[in-house]
């Protein structure tokens, strides 16, 4: 069994603090870089306004080697570090004071419009006060006049938006969206037209930064909402929320995601109950939460009580809440009985499954009888679960912290490439939230309890491996993986089936039939008068009068028909739980293929992967 340790968590905090500190107000850098141009052999300076060097004219800007050497010596004497020198340029660096003293100028900082990560914003530039050309330090009247044409201060350059595709690495891992979608068996649901369209998901996390992974694929990401105590809605200094968002879209590419930032500038997750209240007020279909506190024993603290009450109220309002179970801890609120607790299953390269030894599973000591997790998503293995290559802001704390090294101790990517391999039950929660979105699209009338029931009844059982807390995976439900790995295709099929039945559930009691008005007694036929026999017939016996018919008694109302199939939900509960703005639930209709597959599911509980 793993040993509890809390200090490991502190590393992310310190990384985030460093990231936050780097964003302090602009100050002159200790070393300022510039390129000094030695006198050209041609008649004009390369700094002449309007002049553009090209391959045909560049020779005019070459310098005599002896001039270059003299310039290097002068610059060194003035206190500059000469980093490189060639016939066109001398690359130098020095302090602000060194520049100002050598060239008799004053350096200033100015804000100019730049593109950062594909977005237009302000960037700080260093400039000289005695030149109209941006970034140029003139040398006229100084001791450098004979050997230099001028000095160009380096401008800041920014990485373009991180690449939409991950860097290649030489170990088995899952990519998004493709591999994760396949692992969750969501691809086939997508091809059937169930993609999460029309479903709203709120993700409480460290924030979300722009990344080409999302924009190039046209994912529906709403502007980030700031939780109490947070700032800067476009920044995700940790990188966690940005990465986990990719897990949502792997499962539900057409869902609409609203990130709700709960990380403060130092990286602490603050005011989480207040944030849940805010999230619920937005009335989404699903709220996914990849965070927890470690609570092995009760009683709950005052804040945890309030948080548990808020969670219960959100679910009672029809919002499906997904929480990560933890990575070796007793995750709370995951152990709350009304939420979907997300555990971890590791899919090997051959597609076989085992319980992740990184993910928590346990029986709650706080909620009697509550077993965690309910179901699992895709999660890596110890030591670091570097398993799913996810997009995140370049240079964010996870990008830096997971970079380099050799897998499994590092993710073998650069520290500023905007990609990192990570997972944990943090990854499982958004994957499961995405599958919930598919279910919700397939049948908008299904509420949280029904969605959870469907996830559990359709999950792929995992029978090998041991969870982080020593729980073994066995046949059937266990506390290593819960019901197993979520299976989006099967879940959607059952949701469609449930939705077909829902219109008949619950049947409104039949109105009692109005009592039939009693039929008036028939007037007795008057006895025929005996016909005078023509022939010697016997007189006809008179017909007896009819007895009046008794009125019908009204029928008793018929009791409503109960829903069929597994699961504790009732039609009434789910009808009321459906938000007003939920989808139509018509699921686009069942296809013949759906029906055939449903039949197979019901008849032989076929493994959809054909394993």
């Amino acid at each position: 069994m793993a040993t509890k340790k809390t200090t490991a968590k502190k590393s992310s905090r310190s990384r985030a603090k460093k990231a936050a500190a780097s964003d302090s107000s602009p100050r002159f850098p200790r070393r300022i870089y510039a390129n000094a141009s030695p006198r050209s052999v041609g008649p004009v300076s390369m700094f002449e306004p309007g002049l553009m060097a090209d391959s045909a004219t560049v020779g005019n800007f070459a310098s005599d080697p002896s001039d270059v050497e003299r310039a290097v010596n002068l610059l060194s004497d003035a206190g500059f570090d000469v980093l490189d020198a060639n016939e066109y340029m001398i690359n130098i660096c020095g302090s602000k004071t060194t520049y100002e003293r050598a060239f008799g100028t004053e350096l200033t900082m100015v804000e100019r419009t730049v593109l950062k990560h594909g977005e237009e914003t302000e960037g700080t530039h260093i400039d000289s006060t005695n030149s109209d050309i941006d970034g140029l330090i003139p040398v006229a009247g100084t001791r450098f006049d004979e050997v230099l044409e001028g000095v160009a201060i380096e401008e800041p350059f920014y990485l373009d938006a991180p690449a939409p595709f991950p860097p290649p690495v030489d170990y088995f891992h899952l990519s998004v969206p493709g591999d994760v979608a396949v692992g969750l068996n969501a691809e086939r649901a997508h091809r059937g037209g169930i993609t999460g369209k029309g479903v709203d998901i709120v993700m409480t996390d460290s924030g979300m930064a722009p990344h080409r992974f999302f924009s190039d694929r046209g994912y529906r990401v709403q502007p980030t909402v700031l939780g109490p105590g947070t700032s800067d809605p476009t920044e995700d200094a940790i990188g966690h929320g940005t990465g986990e968002a990719a897990n949502i879209f792997a499962a539900a590419p057409d869902a609409r995601l609203t990130p709700l930032k709960i990380a403060s500038a130092s990286g602490a997750l603050v005011n989480t109950t207040a944030a849940l209240n805010l999230a619920a007020s937005m009335n989404p279909d699903i709220i996914t939460n990849s965070w927890s506190s470690n609570r092995r024993f009760g009683p709950l603290s005052a804040t945890a009580q309030a948080q548990a009450t808020a969670v219960a109220a959100a679910v009672a309002n029809g919002i499906t809440m997904v929480f990560s179970a933890g990575n070796g801890g007793w995750g709370f609120p995951a152990q709350h009985p009304d939420v979907i607790a997300a555990g971890g299953v590791h899919m090997r390269q051959d597609g076989s499954l085992e319980a992740s030894d990184y993910a928590s599973g346990f029986t709650s000591n706080i909620y009697p009888g509550r077993k965690v997790p309910d179901v699992s998503g895709l999660v890596g293995m110890q030591p670091k679960a570097a398993y799913i290559m996810l997009p995140l802001p370049e240079g964010s704390s996870i990008d830096v912290g997971n970079s380099g090294g050799n897998h499994p101790n590092g993710d073998e990517t650069a520290s500023n490439d905007g990609w990192a391999a990570f997972s944990g039950t943090s990854a499982a929660a958004p994957q499961i939230a995405g599958v919930c979105a598919l279910i919700r699209q397939a049948c908008a009338k299904l509420g949280p309890a029904a969605i959870k029931s469907i996830l559990m009844s359709t999950a792929r059982d995992v029978t090998t491996g041991t969870g982080a807390l020593g729980q073994n995976a066995t046949v059937g439900f266990d506390t290593a993986t819960g019901a197993g790995l979520v299976d989006a295709r099967r879940a959607v099929l059952i949701a469609k089936l449930r939705c077909i039945t829902v219109p008949f559930l619950p049947l409104q009691p039949l109105l009692p039939l109005q009592p039939l008005q009693p039929t008036l007694p028939l007037v007795p036929f008057q006895p025929f008068r005996p016909v005078t026999p023509v022939l010697p017939f016997q007189p006809i016996t008179p017909v007896l009068p009819f007895r009046p018919i008794r009125p019908f008694r009204p029928l008793a109302p018929l009791p409503p028909v109960l829903p069929f199939g597994p699961g504790p939900f009732s039609g009434a509960e789910d009808q009321s739980a459906a938000p007003a703005d939920a989808g139509t639930g018509d699921a686009g209709g069942l296809t013949p293929e759906d029906l055939a597959e449903l039949e197979r599911l019901v008849l032989d509980d076929d493994d959809q992967f054909g394993a």
Partner: protein
């Protein structure tokens, strides 16, 4: 001279701290104390929700009163809502000194709970407690020693 500079910097830092915003969670009293008492030993869930719920009047009155005190009041859910104000404002209203920063606060010498006795008796009578939430942890990193 050195002492003066140190004091000035310390004052600046304190001013900056007092202008940061602090959020606390206001837990309202349940509408039915007897029902609340019956579920006192049970952790909250949908099954106990009705017993924990304050009355609508309590929610509206507490929200209005807290707004009048100058706080930004967040949405109500379950039995709680958030109030946000500057550290200086929280300290002034509740008569306490806060420590911490960057979204994580506590009351000096008094833990995570703000005292209600500084509030108007009617408002205080509607509130069960006002607490600062402790930070949570992302479930990306392990809880154990890898």
């Amino acid at each position: 001279m050195t002492d003066d500079v140190t004091t000035d910097r310390s004052d600046d830092r304190d001013d900056e701290r007092r202008q940061q915003s602090a959020t606390a969670l206001v837990v309202l009293k349940a509408a039915d104390p007897a029902a609340r008492a019956r579920v006192a030993d049970q952790p909250p869930s949908i099954e106990t929700l009705d017993a924990l719920r304050p009355s609508d009047d309590t929610i509206v009155a507490a929200t209005d009163a807290l707004r009048r005190l100058g706080f930004e009041v967040g949405p109500f859910l379950g039995n709680s809502m958030a109030i946000t104000g500057t550290v200086a404002h929280v300290e002034a209203v509740f008569g306490v000194r806060l420590e911490g920063g960057d979204g994580v606060y506590s009351v000096v010498g008094d833990g995570d709970e703000l005292p209600l006795d500084a509030l108007d008796a009617t408002l205080a009578g509607r509130i069960e407690r006002i607490v600062f939430e402790p930070p949570m942890e992302l479930d990306e990193e392990p809880t154990w020693t890898p």
